[in-house]
Symmetry: C2
Subunit: 279 residues, 2 copies
């Protein structure tokens, strides 16, 4: 019995076409993808003109991609998909530090620095002391954890975005904890910045009445053998974009205190990282 | 009250971000898109690796697009989305001729030919006489309807795919009906051919155990003032790919008879087009 395409039976017509040798996982993912894609088109009764707009949008999104620009990741970010995939794959018990988006600006093998050293090499911005401990879920310190940190500079750019302007490794560094699990380094109080908005994703945000800004944040990649890796940021608690991060990265537990110390000449941001043992 | 992102509330977090000035239709489409995109990721618990694969796939799909190649339309076609959008937007009463996919090979302003003329200019293939009438839903002939036809040649290529090999306007032509609504022209019995399968979409089909072939078909674009435009094909009834067209274009009512006539030297394919008055 031939299964011709009909509006009502569209999902079955497409999914019945997969052959037996397809892996169970690929079959599961594709069946769900087709089901939801068709459900979307049916729910809104997508017009031919809207479909053409969508084809053109996706094409432009692909064509602006380059070694330095990943517009499909931006699209995933602004639609909340990146955060959702991270959340699904990093469910942790209450009290453990939550993940957020990795972002495109991490660089491997940043310099290993001594505790308390500064990562800011361009002399710009408001100095901030970041301190805390890396502990397990029971509050025990974790020795030998790597705290890999990076932020934008006082003008809102990461060093890799301005290789001819900023010193190499500006606002980046790695710190290894001792027996007390403590870390400490000086950087700047990060500043908010827009995601690249001169492409299709920026145009989409504009049409949706959304701005492209991310609230100021310090990136942390915390690793230790035997523990789940933490990929997160701490957010500057008084940032005006805290409640509407363009990529939905903010979680309540990641909003960190930033306090004036030393007679207002320096900020201080304390934050503990709570790691969960690998299963 | 700040609405931070959570796994459970992911859809609301994203959709709440749209501002009041967004048009109602754009809001409706985006809300549904985000809802189904997130539902897909949640249903399959999409992994980080699968997400990365998807980002890479979409990027490659965009980057292979050119003036001659539209890989996102191919993707839409093989996922049944193109047929679904056509179906949603062209619901017709029983008895009316159904639409199918337009395809990328139509060319505007094909030569207007006299009834009974041939459209085959390269002398290849098995000759076929196409005849029928353009009528309304009550069976009354429609005078002055334009029957714009195109097909591949005997080797499975449209003239625009082989501009240096085939004569210009090979297997194309327009015919205007007279008072009896009848049309007639000679072409070839079309042959099945693969959609372009040397890109990301072809790789996907291969992974899904699907072939890239379309069953043989003659394209028809039938227009007449006051009537809904018919964009369709007639399919050769004995084609081996009839039950598994790579783009799901086949409908039961579009499978046409192809009969041997004139002592087996020529085929004959009769088909009437039934138009619906515009609302």
């Amino acid at each position: 019995m031939t299964h011709y395409f009909t509006e009502e039976g569209s999902v079955e017509a497409v999914n019945a076409r997969m052959r037996g040798e397809v892996t169970p996982r690929l079959r599961e993912v594709m069946e769900s993808l087709v089901k939801h894609l068709h459900a979307f088109a049916k729910e809104v009764e997508l017009t031919q003109t809207e479909w053409e707009f969508g084809i053109d949008f996706l094409t432009k999104t692909g064509q602006i991609c380059s070694a330095e620009r990943q517009e499909f990741i931006l699209l995933s970010d602004v639609l909340g998909l990146s955060m959702l995939v991270d959340a699904i794959n990093n469910r942790r018990p209450a009290g453990a530090t939550e993940n957020t988006v990795f972002g495109p600006f991490h660089v491997e093998d940043a310099p290993i620095r001594a505790m308390g050293d500064t990562i800011c090499l361009d002399g710009k911005g408001e100095t901030c002391l970041f301190t805390g401990r890396v502990i397990d879920i029971h509050g025990e310190p974790i020795e030998g954890a790597c705290v890999d940190v990076w932020s934008d500079n006082a003008e809102g750019f990461y060093d890799v975005q301005q290789p001819d302007v900023q010193p190499k490794w500006n606002n980046r560094g790695r710190f290894y904890t001792g027996a007390d699990g403590a870390y400490a380094f000086r950087g700047i109080k990060p500043v908010s910045y827009p995601i690249p908005d001169d492409g299709p994703v920026g145009q989409m945000l504009d049409r949706l009445g959304r701005h492209p800004y991310r609230p100021a944040h310090m990136h942390f990649l915390v690793t230790s053998p035997g523990f789940q890796t933490i990929v997160t940021h701490t957010f500057v608690g008084d940032d005006p974009y805290l409640s509407d991060d363009a990529v939905f990265g903010v979680k309540q537990t990641l909003v960190a205190p930033f306090e004036h110390v030393r007679g207002d000449t320096e900020w201080h941001s304390p934050f503990d990282f709570v790691m969960v043992a690998k299963a």
